[in-house]
């Protein structure tokens, strides 16, 4: 609302950085590809070597796009949770959405031996993992929400979120006790997080659900701003609290749930990006924050992914480790610098 010119300038700069990060991310990898050929393959013309085109179009491009969706989606769902729960430490990870997704996936991968061979074929497919993760995250978020209606204390909600994570971990360890080595490995690899496993088909489905989540979050901009006043004021302004709360939670579980489902639980992006954005843009207005979080989330995720693939080497580090290594110090730095997290 205020000095919209400075905001549009910042957005322009961020957009530029996003583009640079996007191209850098695609240029880097275990195989060295000259920048000219990267560009050529993106616009569809031929490259010096046929394999380069293959690598770019079927591996690096979907991976970079996934990074953009994951970073922006997690950032936005973190922002929604922080506003809804009136807590600067809220985020999909803290409130147990990721734990819920893990439980769903654990039940599918590890529990298939318990449920028996009939379901095996169906259960182990990629799609069932996606559905299980989404369901798991939605159920946990619903449980947290129901508790949050009863308990007014926001710290209690956070602790309850942590408790859900503990329960999840317990069930997962029981399941792993009965699981085979192969199943265990599959589950652990899912937990590392990975942006690179998505085919174009999967990316398409991911994108559709992502768009749905983003649309709901955009439609919630007004109620999010109203909620900044606290629930009683929001009610006095005619806001239907129950409906907006449901919309915000639905959006978060669609975004965080699908992201976790397709790429595994990715830590800290959802918590750190909204705070970083508030620092840079110095506002609490969601009309500014939402697009800004989108851009920053995508940028940070692309950078994390570029680091994770360790340029010009054969190693690919777990993306989850990189986001934690980048995200946790950011949160600490923000706290030390500002002393207080205003939001």
């Amino acid at each position: 609302m205020l000095n919209s010119k400075t905001y549009s300038f910042s957005f322009l700069v961020l957009l530029l950085i996003l583009l640079i990060c996007f191209f850098t991310n695609i240029s880097l990898g275990s195989v060295y590809i000259p920048f000219k050929d990267v560009f050529n393959s993106l616009i569809g013309s031929s490259t010096e070597q046929e394999t380069w085109l293959q690598i770019i179009q079927n591996y690096r491009l979907p991976k970079a796009l996934t990074a953009i969706l994951v970073g922006s989606g997690l950032g936005i769902s973190g922002l929604l949770m922080q506003t809804l729960f009136r807590n600067p430490l809220a985020g999909p990870f803290v409130l147990g959405i990721s734990s819920g997704a893990s439980l769903g996936v654990a039940l599918v991968i590890l529990g298939s031996s318990v449920f028996g061979g009939v379901f095996m074929a169906f259960l182990i497919s990629k799609w069932s993992i996606v559905i299980a993760a989404s369901l798991g995250s939605f159920l946990v978020l619903l449980a947290v929400l129901m508790v949050s209606i009863k308990v007014r204390d926001t710290m209690a909600i956070l602790i309850i979120g942590l408790m859900f994570a503990s329960i999840t971990a317990a069930i997962v360890s029981v399941l792993s006790y009965f699981g085979s080595a192969q199943q265990l490995q599959q589950y652990i690899f899912w937990g590392f997080g990975s942006l690179g496993n998505l085919s174009w088909d999967e990316l398409f489905v991911f994108f559709i659900i992502y768009c749905l989540g983003i649309t709901i979050s955009l439609a919630s901009v007004k109620s999010l701003n109203t909620l900044l006043l606290g629930e009683n004021y929001a009610k006095s302004l005619g806001l239907n609290i129950k409906r907006s709360r449901l919309a915000i939670i639905l959006s978060t579980s669609l975004l965080a749930g699908t992201i976790t489902a397709f790429t595994g639980p990715i830590a800290f992006i959802g918590l750190a990006i909204p705070h970083l954005t508030r620092q840079i843009f110095n506002t609490s207005n969601h009309k500014i924050l939402l697009p800004a979080v989108f851009l920053l989330g995508a940028i940070v995720m692309l950078i994390c992914d570029s680091i994770a693939q360790v340029p010009n080497s054969d190693y690919t580090l777990p993306i989850n480790a990189i986001t934690s290594l980048v995200g946790a110090p950011v949160v600490i730095w923000l706290l030390v610098r500002k002393r207080k997290m205003v939001f």
């Binding site: 609302m1 205020l2 009136r86 439609a219 901009v221 007004k222 701003n225 109203t226 909620l227 900044l228 006043l229 606290g230 009683n232 004021y233 009610k235 006095s236 302004l237 005619g238 806001l239 239907n240 508030r278 110095n282 506002t283 609490s284 207005n285 009309k287 205003v342 939001f343």
Partner: protein
Amino acid sequence: MTNKNQHIILKTEDLSIGYQSKKVRTLVASNINIELHKGELVGLVGGNGIGKSTLLRTITNVQDALSGAIFINGKPIKKYPALDLAKVLSLVLTEQMMSKNLSVFELVALGRQPYTNWVGNLSENDMAIINNALSQTNIVDLKQKRCFELSDGQLQKVMIARALAQDTDLIILDEPTTHLDMYHKAYILKLLQKLTKETGKTILFSSHEIDLAIQLCDKLIVMSSNQVVSDTPCHLISKGVFETLFPKDLIAFDEKTGSFRVKK
């Protein structure tokens, strides 16, 4: 002072307030018959725990009445959809708002929420109303400040401006003078009086500043343990209502000065 022909903004009929759980029914006060007219400044006074907040919560539709009826502009309050009620009734609460990172302008602009479109874009008319609210509460120069930079007195003015921007017939404030120094207590109540005169809005506030309320209000609602009376301050003094307000061992009401004195 009260004119029979004046438009009645809020009216209660044999209202009983209290709390109803599954088994227990706790009656806080009953037989409440009050009428608030257009452009009146009305104070709600009474001792701690007498039910002022319960009454305010009931007439703002936050909690249900035990029995009786509440009308706003002649229409039962229960018949108002939430958004329509937000266009006739605005609140200033005691609770702290959640985000103090909002600028004063943004906060006051949130008062326009019931009127704006789905993204909350402000029209020129909205901007005019917001700027008007800012100038009526003398906070134009605070416009760009963030709420965490404000003093309690400034913040209260901002919250009043927000309620003004909501452009409702009735504004209800819950203890707007707590945490304020003597000067700002008088300042805020004087501001409320000015607003009723200038805008023709009806303002109801609860307060412990009985002497200030007696001096400034058009009408007072006095809640004591056995009755709820509403009348002009002068009539209430001559009826001796204020003597019944508190136990008599420590303080006494002085009719001449219209204030309470500590017994020597």
